[in-house]
Symmetry: C2
Amino acid sequence: GRMISYEAKRLGYKVVVLDPTPDSPAGQVSDKQIVAAYDDMKAIRQLVEETKVITYEFEHIDAAVLETVEAEGYRVYPSSKSLRIIQNKYRQKSFLQQAGLPVPSFFKLSSVDELYEEEPKYPYIIKTCCGGYDGKGNYVINKKEDLTNLPSSFLKREVIIEEYIDFERELSILAARSKDGKIIYYPVVENIHKDSILRTTKVPAQIDKDLEQRVFSIAMAVMRAFDDIGIFCVELFQKKDNKIFINEIAPRPHNSGHYTIEGCITSQYEQLVRAITGLPLGSPRLLSPCAMVNILGDNSAAGEYTFSGLEAAMQSEAAYVHLYGKKTTAYQRKIGHITVLDENAEKAAERAEAVLDSLSIKCLEG
Amino acid sequence: GRMISYEAKRLGYKVVVLDPTPDSPAGQVSDKQIVAAYDDMKAIRQLVEETKVITYEFEHIDAAVLETVEAEGYRVYPSSKSLRIIQNKYRQKSFLQQAGLPVPSFFKLSSVDELYEEEPKYPYIIKTCCGGYDGKGNYVINKKEDLTNLPSSFLKREVIIEEYIDFERELSILAARSKDGKIIYYPVVENIHKDSILRTTKVPAQIDKDLEQRVFSIAMAVMRAFDDIGIFCVELFQKKDNKIFINEIAPRPHNSGHYTIEGCITSQYEQLVRAITGLPLGSPRLLSPCAMVNILGDNSAAGEYTFSGLEAAMQSEAAYVHLYGKKTTAYQRKIGHITVLDENAEKAAERAEAVLDSLSIKCLEG
């Protein structure tokens, strides 16, 4: 939210943020913060009444509430229709499949109990239809016995059973669509996850021209299918034989697009602001190969924190440290990121890792 | 102030701003604003007590107040000593001359009345020793009769009489010095003023290698002479024969350095934050030739305002519009700027002018 706010203010707009955490990262740099839950109808009404257009950068908000204010004529981009499709993994995958886009094979169960009746091909993934985030809500089953270890959070809920894609690489691409229907897309990037959390993005992805063109076509087709306004991220799996499958879609600026702040002519945040305010889209051109690593909370500190090692970290050339101003840290919580520009993505990634290693998180004495 | 605050927050610092205008551009994006006059001792005491280091981006503040808090052990960068030298044009020029640096010839008068006794060589400039800004406080005298038109603001004050330099170009250069004494300098840029207000900066300046080296040497010598911590801008005149003279020094981020936000690896604001917090300096390397034009209030609007033409303005590639969020406009008031990246500085400047032309300022109906 902080970056959307910064870019919007630079272009002369006033920004009101709704966030349940008082003095939130975005609230700290905006004109006003409404402190309320994301599904607080009264607060959302206040937000739409005080602004000309609203957007979101977190998809676990109540689509019905957005639908209500849209029906009253308030502008919400991306629309509640897209949000509703994306929030439910079964609905999302069905939508993509109907649009002729490549997705892993999948089917829906009203509960995992049904798995004991019909046995899918191993390995497969169980995903809760709603509410997953950073790998929470996904579980890989390699053999029947794994089912006994399934976390209780998967029980008594709608799930999808998805073919496990034995991928060579994880790729993603950002694309934006403006009010006048123009679509632009960014470079294809490679993502490295650990424990289902994004660790590293390398820009551009080292893929051949044919594969790159196919990813571009998919990005265009996704944007045409949603027919919406805003910025979307398409995450994909690339198999060894260069076949690709869409993993999921996010209807907002994405962690794998943080590199655009320094790496591209137009950042993903400026692009979103342009799209939702009716401005023409900006150039997504890459200025330099680069890499991004996330700064995650570790086991050494929880609660209020500070950083040490910034002096060492800042000695690396063209290394941009972004700390989000979150009040507290926790294990694997995203509290910042580092982008490094270099002559190629591999060198940038190595240096970004080194910068990350020199930073450490310290508990504040309480 | 907004950009200093943004960069400081990105690096994990909290920011408190002192500004007499409630909800000031910097205050809008900072953790806290103290609304008070720049010489309000009680407010400045509150500021230093709540922070670990203070800086300023406007030199017409009371150096004595800063000296008081420095004497109490609070950190002020750049120091009150540098500020005191820079605030008084006679002191500044004498200081530079004593450091062996090239300045136009000058002498001091306790009042312009003394001009009727001794007649300097025409043309010359009268400058009030203190308080000048954007050309206010400067007056060119081409012939004796011009003295009769001298604005009353020049009367009964200390002034300096300075040789008028018939310059071919106006140049400037930013330099920074860190706590450990390291000095870095940015590219040499060319500035175009009108009515003594900066209109356009072209980066890099089209000058030969020898002249460029001499400007670099001057920047280094200036930073060594001040022996301070922070970022300084050195403005120079270049004559047709390539002789150069320092016009003046600013101990802060400078309007002619706005291009560094998109044009350089490290912006002048990040550089200032690095310097005053004891971080190593960042690379000043230029990423692309570029140009910056100021957005100035015109005769069409005064008071509260809005912009039109943003849609057209934003169609230009790699054009960054920065609107400062100032509440009111006035004739020739700086309310924003535009930076354009292109393959050379001339093309960038042409496109920046075109972007500026497509923007217009409109009064808000009151």
